[in-house]
Subunit: 498 residues, 2 copies
């Protein structure tokens, strides 16, 4: 059986290489591709996705798996990694073999064109430029869901892709508790004196913001020899190779916190990717991939919010950022700064929302996706429906689609079912955070001295390195000793904001 596993690993590595090549093409498309290069780029992406898919559905895998599974039943020297790898490969192989090659290639091509159209629509503030592509992505996602499991609701099938085991109902249940918690806390905060953050809106050049970003990447332990920072319309992290995990940010001249916190956020994703290594024998395989989007998001949001917006973190790093900013922060002490970056306020843009209102932005998207996938919401009605939901949950009027339903890249890529992961990520993060606080003595003091080593090591050993060795729920149980417990996040927020 060892031989079968070795052969499966070899095939898997070829697929991973192709996936990483696709990531190079995708990264370049978002950063440096000349305007007219998009047409052929989408053909290139389609070809690579098709080749990666071919590798993933290679009939050899089916044969090797069947034989490995049979042998595993009686094997005595099966390591946990080997056992997990066989199960994982089975799950993914079954999933992949259900999608026809032509569909995968066409999907990749359409997603690439759709993303480009979204980008144009957003800068032109014109939803109609994006609408036909969105129609296509919705139609193709319903087709995708039908290929994968025609017996289940399409949205359930798609949610499963990002967080294995979740359903619309299970998420709706968690979100209804979270909604109550957040609304109650928001009411409490409304009674507090207003926070002055005007100084955060003073102009800071993109050049200085980039310098801040690079400083903070170093501060949180991002190895710039294993990645880089670039500028894109929407910040993201992408893995182009095991030692090439790149992040991007964007510079808003009149609000520098936008870039620095998205840099810390993406660095959290990148550190996870850089540290995955469940076992040397399984490098370059599915076992060395992140276990889920929500666990991924727990790492980015923990670094951005739990660490990056803490008083302790800025104790060490505020002087450097203050000096780089110059005039705008000259008369602002660290306490005022920390208060300002934690200001809670109902706002329009998810990626710039505070920790308390953020969950409400996710609920807006979750409820709309649910309606889109069930067919009760048509594409042409999305702008209006979006605006109504924002009014309902956040009490705000949306002045235009650029600040409304065109703000996020996800749907243009066909990522329906992804948004809930962001909120689940907060819940996971809070649960990891409570345990980490218990297990690392004086963590806060260490953070205030700029010593993040113990924390990074704890995360690496307990979470990052594991890759897909456990399912998300198993990982949580193993690390924290209990299943998902939403009360941790409520406790964290209440302690910080009350």
């Amino acid at each position: 059986m060892k031989q079968e596993i070795a052969k499966l690993v070899e095939l898997d590595r070829q697929r991973t290489l192709l996936t990483h090549i696709g990531a190079v093409l995708g990264w370049d498309q978002e950063t440096y591709l000349p305007e007219k290069g998009i047409e052929e780029r989408s053909e290139q992406l389609s070809l690579i996705e098709g080749l990666a898919h071919e590798k993933a559905v290679d009939p050899q895998i089916g044969e090797l798996l069947a034989s490995a599974e049979a042998a595993a039943e009686t094997a005595e020297d099966l390591s946990p990694e080997e056992a997990a790898y066989i199960k994982l490969t089975r799950r993914e192989f079954d999933k992949e073999t259900k999608l026809p090659s032509e569909f995968v290639m066409e999907y990749a091509k359409q997603a690439s064109l759709s993303q480009a159209a979204w980008s144009q629509a957003k800068s032109a503030n014109d939803f109609s430029l994006f609408a036909p592509h969105l129609e296509t992505m919705i139609r193709m996602n319903k087709e995708r869901a039908a290929y994968l499991d025609s017996g289940r609701k399409p949205y359930d099938v798609l949610l499963d892709l990002y967080e294995y085991g979740s359903t619309e109902a299970s998420i709706a249940a968690v979100f209804s508790v979270m909604k109550k918690d957040l609304v109650a806390l928001l009411d409490k905060i409304a009674g507090q004196p207003p926070v002055d953050d005007a100084f955060l809106h003073a102009p800071v050049s993109a050049e200085i913001q980039a310098k801040m970003s690079r400083y903070l990447m170093d501060a949180v332990g991002y190895d710039q020899k294993r990645g880089r920072l670039d500028t894109t319309a929407h910040p993201f992290t992408t893995t182009l190779g095991r030692d090439d995990v790149r992040i991007t940010t964007r510079y808003v001249e009149n609000y520098f916190p936008s870039s620095i916190f998205s840099t810390i956020h993406e660095s959290g994703h990148a550190l996870y990717e850089m540290n995955i290594d469940p076992h040397p024998d399984f490098r370059g395989t599915r076992l060395a991939e992140a276990v889920s989007m929500a666990v991924h998001e727990s790492q980015s949001r923990m670094l951005e919010n739990f660490v990056g917006r803490s008083r302790a973190f800025w104790e060490k790093h505020y002087p450097a950022i203050q000096a780089m900013a110059g005039e705008p922060l000259a008369d602002v002490d660290v306490d005022r700064f920390v208060k300002a970056i934690n200001k809670v306020e109902r706002s329009l843009i998810r990626t710039e929302a505070d920790e308390v209102t953020y969950g409400l932005h996710v609920i807006v998207r979750f409820e709309l996706e649910s309606a889109i996938m069930s067919g009760s919401l048509a594409v042409k009605d999305i702008p209006q429906a979006w605006n109504a939901k924002i009014k309902e949950l956040l009490g705000l009027d949306v002045p235009n689609d650029r600040l409304g339903c065109l703000q996020d890249v996800h749907w243009s890529m066909g990522a329906f079912g992804y948004f809930p992961s962001y909120a689940l990520g907060n819940l996971y993060a809070a649960q990891f955070w409570e345990v980490m606080q218990e297990q690392i003595p004086n963590l806060e003091q260490k953070i205030s001295r700029g010593e993040l080593g113990d924390m990074q090591q704890w995360l690496k050993v307990n979470v990052h390195s594991k890759g897909s060795l456990y399912l998300p729920g198993e990982l949580l149980q193993k690390v924290t000793g209990k299943p998902l417990d939403p009360s941790c996040f409520a406790r964290y927020l209440n302690k910080k904001f009350s």
Copy 2:
């Protein structure tokens, strides 16, 4: 037969897409790849080269070709494009099928590692870091030559790859005439009053040089929506897609002409690539590729030297560049500037050599390559042999390898036999130039008004668009009415420098 051709075209397009994907990986490696990403990148390149090679040697091609060739013998409605495509595909298929897949993959991997080692060796000025990789590239090129045609001298086989039909002997014959012409002209110039170009060595920031480069790209008609400019150790042009032809340059702070003329040079290459279109049915095929390295070089060197260093060109563009440069050119009029950028002087770096001494740099490399490939020169002796040749032909002492045998990227990529193309390119350029002068009324005046449209159109129609429709010699005959005539270049130089 039309069906066979259509099928061949379809297979060819897949190969081209993979080649372009490889170009994206290569471009990224030279521009933005994080330091530690190189190892996996070489695996990615190796995989893509392997896949492209698989496409190129697909047995279907052999069958389709055989049937198309048989039908072509009696066909009456065969277009020139179809006839040329069948011949070209046969030549390339025969060439490709001789190289085993594993060899091609290993070669790509080694070339990628070797290029990285060269880059390090060059910055550390330490030939020993590069030597073992150079050994490998030489060994693998001898193997390559043996696979392709074990009955011929390896260097002849390699020269054929870059300029179909050329041999070491035919090039040596042309070069011996050129050497005589150049040495005679150099002697004449030595008797002229010295040219003052000290002001070209005043510091100009990389930022300003980049601005100059972008201005000049526009001036020569490079469409920046179909490509872009970046910075690399060694300037190059690369085709990542039919509408994505990128160039690079480098900024030498104390010698801004280095960047601006390499930008014009690479723009010449890029314009050729962007304009290739022998027939819409053959887009994305080998017929829509440049015919040879020497013809390519004729386009870059014509734009850089014949146009870009002419008095007429600067009549129009000097005021803009002068204003960007500021202080260093404030008191320099256009005549002094044009004299300075045409200063003839024996120097160490090929890419910065003037038009007269340039050919001697190429002869140095040609003679060394010839000795390396025949086995009479060992890797460890290359630095010494290089320095001796430079002394012999240019009368200069080479102070270190960075300014000597480590200056060029070519050997690190395994491109033995490429260098002669540079000098052949000058000869082709001069021959095209003479005919173009006759056929475009008042060309010089047009250039002096910044109107390069007629010239670009002439080049597009007569040279660029043709792609590989004709062999290099056929193209020259068709456009100029005669075979290669080295006297054109001697006439051009003597007119300009006497």
